[in-house]
Symmetry: C2
Subunit: 163 residues, 2 copies
């Protein structure tokens, strides 16, 4: 739903004047793509006030999730507890961009190991690994090298699976 990877590219360009594209980064975390003496700066992005609040919405996620929510029992589970500053920002971000997902169906968590459900869509393999239902890896530059999971690369693709 939120394009956290693009945010790294944008902040890095602002800080260092160098523009990376996602294609430059395939198979790697963004901090692996920058000079060693810039890595600490990149790792600090998620601790900055506003990082999560200002994330861009991934194309088609709003329309597809609105439609999915009208037909299925959709929960949003976001790994947030590592970054206490992200908690309120993620709540406000959902209020702005996904107001049709009510608070009852929002989860901010650490590990996602105790979530049950029929389908989990996530861009992190470690979030999918212990899930007992159908597991869909949402493509992000950092995970393009993985082959362990069924993959989806866009919300249109998700729509074609479940709508």
């Amino acid at each position: 739903m939120a394009d956290a990877y693009q945010a790294h590219l944008d902040i890095y360009e602002k800080d260092f004047g160098v523009r990376f594209t996602k294609e430059d980064c395939l198979g790697r975390e963004f901090w692996h793509c920058v000079p060693v003496d810039h890595q600490a700066s990149v790792k600090d992005h998620a601790w900055q006030v506003g990082y999560f609040r200002n994330l861009k919405v991934i194309p088609d996620s709003q329309e597809v999730l609105a439609e999915l929510s009208s037909r299925h029992d959709v929960y949003i589970a976001s790994a947030a507890m590592q970054f206490p500053n992200s908690l309120r920002e993620k709540s406000d971000w959902l209020d702005e961009h996904f107001p049709f997902i009510p608070w009852q169906k929002r989860i901010l968590c650490g590990h996602k190991h105790v979530l049950k459900g029929d389908v989990l869509i996530d861009d992190r393999a470690y979030n999918l690994e212990k899930f007992e239902g159908r597991r869909l890896l949402f493509t992000s530059p950092h995970n393009t090298g993985l082959t362990d999971f069924e993959r989806v690369s866009s919300w249109k693709e998700i729509a074609s699976l479940f709508l």
Copy 2:
């Protein structure tokens, strides 16, 4: 873990100079115990800055949870999404009082319907109702009238069940 009911009594006494005890309130939400023209004030408590951050710790919860965590896979799941101001406060409260529960094992949620596990301890029947494992209702004044669930009334009792 957190004594939210006592907090209502304490804030009410501060605001209106009248001291209720938990025994005065058995079987009722606290807002049901006060005069009609005070009910809106009581319902506002949870929206006040600091309400969640300043909750008192229920006796023995720290010692028992520390020991449980050393032997079992313990997660904290707190219904928090309804109150965006509570998110950071609950995270900070856990950091202060339950630092041995790492962020990986903390969950802030709305409904608890998508949590899986062997045991759920909660003072709200609606949180227990859809849980598939063993369900324990932790006694609070508001739930003393319920007979649908196995009940525990102290952390010592929980210790005797699981330690």
